[in-house]
């Protein structure tokens, strides 16, 4: 009997798996498919669950309240990846052709390593890769990277906004001369990405640029902060990630460095980054292309139609309006607006990847449109074009008051004209190495 049960259970599991591989049932043809490479478990789960909850809540809102995007319903499927690159690649391969006839118009990588890994596959398969606030910086140049979209804010703009905010506090860019700005960075690809633009900005504005690396994961940072203290900096730019952020804030407090002189980067500015630091984080500021808070117009709509009806993907409603949840909302909203843009050219039908690229390249979200969709203050105005795949390049600055983020400034624009030559030089080097012929953007 035991054997029988054992056998039938294993047979059932086997059969289920095989059927799953062969055909996944039920789906419609007149739907827009959106693959989601989620990470609800693993080391980044605490941010991943909120990110995808925000994204799914908005998609659900569009489907159920607005009846889809111009009448085209959205269909999404998740694959759990634990934020590991090879699993994200697998997810991409699984769903790049769409799902039961519903085509894929774009793919959220939400991981800089995955954006790199998929770069050439996306080009070959004609699937736009969306990585808001991350991605390969030089892929801002859409003439060389037609299918990569480091939307909103690339790493160079993040450095520039950081410096511009410091100038604002000091009373002008000319006041930066002679100041000491220390960058404490996560010693990884992400952390080192801003070294080029920082050196350029330091040369231009005459401040002293000191770079201090923190090795991954950054559980112990005393030597680094001793070094920071010796440098007696005027400002500290904290470009850490994960556990290294709260540890950095706490260690800085231990060394007597004032927390209101520390400016966190985009990925060092969520609740998960400051809550573990406790009281030491009160007064900490961070760049926020994705501000936290649940008082924006869209939150009221979501609360009414999704959250209060028990349809939210959030397990714990206390996280409604947290930074990562809002990141999800913003990504979903940009994608939905891109689809709308595409519908105006191709008609109200599901778009494929090539049409998706056209849609993203002609995306133009102005202030009035932001107000209509309820994202005023939460999202910056965004305008993309053929050789401009970033679009925004601005961030607000938010400050932690000990229990929540409050917005300290309006949108601060990066000095993108100054940094663009660096990006063009890098993309040209890429084009040369790979023998890519840049598109002629005057024709696109």
């Amino acid at each position: 009997m035991r054997k029988f049960i054992k056998r039938s259970v294993s047979a059932a599991v086997l059969a289920a798996g095989v059927c799953g591989l062969v055909a996944e049932a039920q789906a419609g043809a007149n739907e827009q498919f959106i693959p989601l490479a989620t990470y609800r478990v693993g080391p980044y789960a605490s941010s991943g669950t909120l990110w995808w909850a925000g994204l799914i809540d908005y998609l659900r809102y569009v489907n159920e309240v607005e009846g889809g995007v111009d009448g085209v319903k959205l269909l999404w499927k998740e694959c759990e990846t634990e934020w590991s690159t090879d699993r994200i690649v697998e997810c991409y391969e699984r769903y790049k052709q769409g799902y039961n006839g519903a085509p894929t118009a774009f793919f959220f990588t939400h991981s800089t390593p995955a954006s790199y890994a998929l770069l050439e596959k996306g080009l070959a398969d004609k699937i736009p890769l969306i990585d808001a606030g991350g991605g390969r910086t030089e892929s801002t140049d859409g003439s060389v990277f037609p299918y990569a979209f480091p939307l909103l804010m690339n790493y160079y703009s993040q450095a520039s906004v950081g410096i511009n905010y410091i100038a604002l506090k000091e009373g002008g860019l000319d006041k930066l001369r002679g100041k000491k700005i220390v960058t404490v960075y996560h010693d990884s690809a992400y952390g080192r990405e801003t070294q080029g633009p920082m050196a350029l900005l330091a040369k231009k504005y005459g401040f002293e640029n000191i770079q201090i690396p923190v090795a991954d994961p950054g559980n112990e940072q005393s030597p680094q902060w001793r070094q920071v203290r010796q440098a007696k900096p005027d400002w500290i730019f904290l470009r850490t990630w994960g556990v290294s952020t709260p540890v950095g804030i706490k260690t800085a407090a231990r060394f007597g460095l004032p927390v209101d002189r520390i400016i966190g980067d985009v990925w060092a500015g969520s609740e998960a980054d400051v809550l573990p630091a406790g009281a030491a984080a009160k007064g900490y500021q961070a760049l926020a292309p994705f501000p936290g808070g649940a008082d924006f117009e869209i939150h009221q709509r979501l609360r009414k139609h999704i959250l209060d009806k028990g349809k939210s993907d959030l397990k714990d409603p206390k996280f409604f309006g947290s930074v990562y949840y809002n990141i999800g909302l913003i990504n979903a909203a940009i994608a939905v607006e891109a689809l709308r843009t595409g519908h105006r050219k191709f008609g109200n039908r599901p778009l494929n990847g090539e049409e998706g690229r056209w849609a993203f390249e002609h995306l133009d979200i102005d202030g009035a449109r932001l107000k209509e969709i309820g994202f005023s203050g939460l999202l910056q105005t965004l305008k993309l074009s053929c050789n401009e795949h970033e679009g925004g390049g601005a961030a607000r600055v938010q400050q932690w008051d000990g229990s929540k983020w409050t917005l300290a400034t309006d949108w601060i624009q990066a000095d993108r004209k100054l940094l663009r030559p660096l990006i063009d030089a890098k993309s040209a080097a890429y084009a040369k190495e790979k023998a890519v012929k840049p598109r002629d953007c005057s024709k696109a």
């Binding site: 599991v13 289920a16 798996g17 059927c19 799953g20 591989l21 996944e24 049932a25 989620t38 609800r40 478990v41 693993g42 789960a45 669950t49 499927k77 998740e78 694959c79 759990e80 634990e82 590991s84 690159t85 090879d86 699993r87 690649v89 697998e90 391969e93 699984r94 790049k96 052709q97 800089t112 390593p113 790199y116 890994a117 998929l118 770069l119 050439e120 596959k121 070959a124 398969d125 390969r136 910086t137 030089e138 010693d187 990884s188 690809a189 992400y190 080192r192 990405e193 080029g196 090795a215 890098k426 190495e433 790979k434 023998a435």
Partner: protein, 354 residues
Amino acid sequence: MSASIHRLPAPFDHAPIEIVGRRQPWGLLALLGVAFVLLPLLGGDYWLNAILIPFLVLSLAGLGLNLLTGYTGQTSVGSAGFMAVGAFATYGFLLRVPGLPLPLALVAGGLFAAAVGFVVGIPSSRIKGFYLMVTTLAAQFFLEWVFVKFPWFYNHASSGTISAPRLELFGQPLGSAEGRYLLTLGTVLVLTWVAVNLVRSQIGRNWMAIRDMDTAAAVIGIPVERYRRLAFAVSAFYLGIAGALWAFAYLGTASAGSFDINRSFQILFIIIIGGMGSIAGSFIGAAFISLLPIFLSHGGQLVFGGSLDAGQVQNLQKVIFGVLIIVFLIREPEGLVRLLGNLRARLAVWPLRF
């Protein structure tokens, strides 16, 4: 007098070792035919790119570790470090030596990894077991650090990421899924053939003697230390080539983060589950470990629809792996390959067992 000697009973009426008769390799040929002809024709992009290529590369990596751990008895958790060396070295050769054909660059990358493996293996002449494992752990972290710290290795790219140069073989571009699949398959086939012959040769037998009892091996005249270092070098050669294929044929890009300690553990699990000291075990283990997550994720979606959290399926998979590893270590240290062997032996006499 001499007659009494003849009357002594022979200790065994047949040789104590089982001599496997030379079978006609029809099954193998059929498998190769399917792998080389049928799969590229029938398998879509998804199967080739997302399932078969990583499976083959992981098999190769498992094979490399099996030579060190399964055949020579030296546990290593530095496999991913050697893969990184192979990937970065191959990239460096392709980038800095113009006109170098791809197979040569792969071999050069593998040799470079072998040299590093040899250096890491030097302590094996003095220490063994747990302590040796810790030195490989150190090597893993050191190599990861090296490929983050020194921008020269990744050609000063802004993100520390290397990307595949144009893959070509004799002027034929290998950029398509089929091309990359055939490149991987060809490499794995050649290296497996080499490994099979290696473990059946004097070297392989010496390795196994050292694994079974190093003192006895030394007594019968095997230079134990030299063969241990050799095992490290050969294993690193295999892992290096696997790393280069992982970076260029599968992901198309790599950074030090792609070869972290988790990858090392994954490869160790492959040989624990598949079977230590077995070439086929590396393949079976790799198939299991790379296919089970995908299988579960598809199956979970079908059975539970949207009602089950994708994250829960992932946790389930961790539980299954954990349980299997414990079960295999306790009940069947020879892994899946042994279970399959038992099954075959039973089926051979079925239904007349007696």
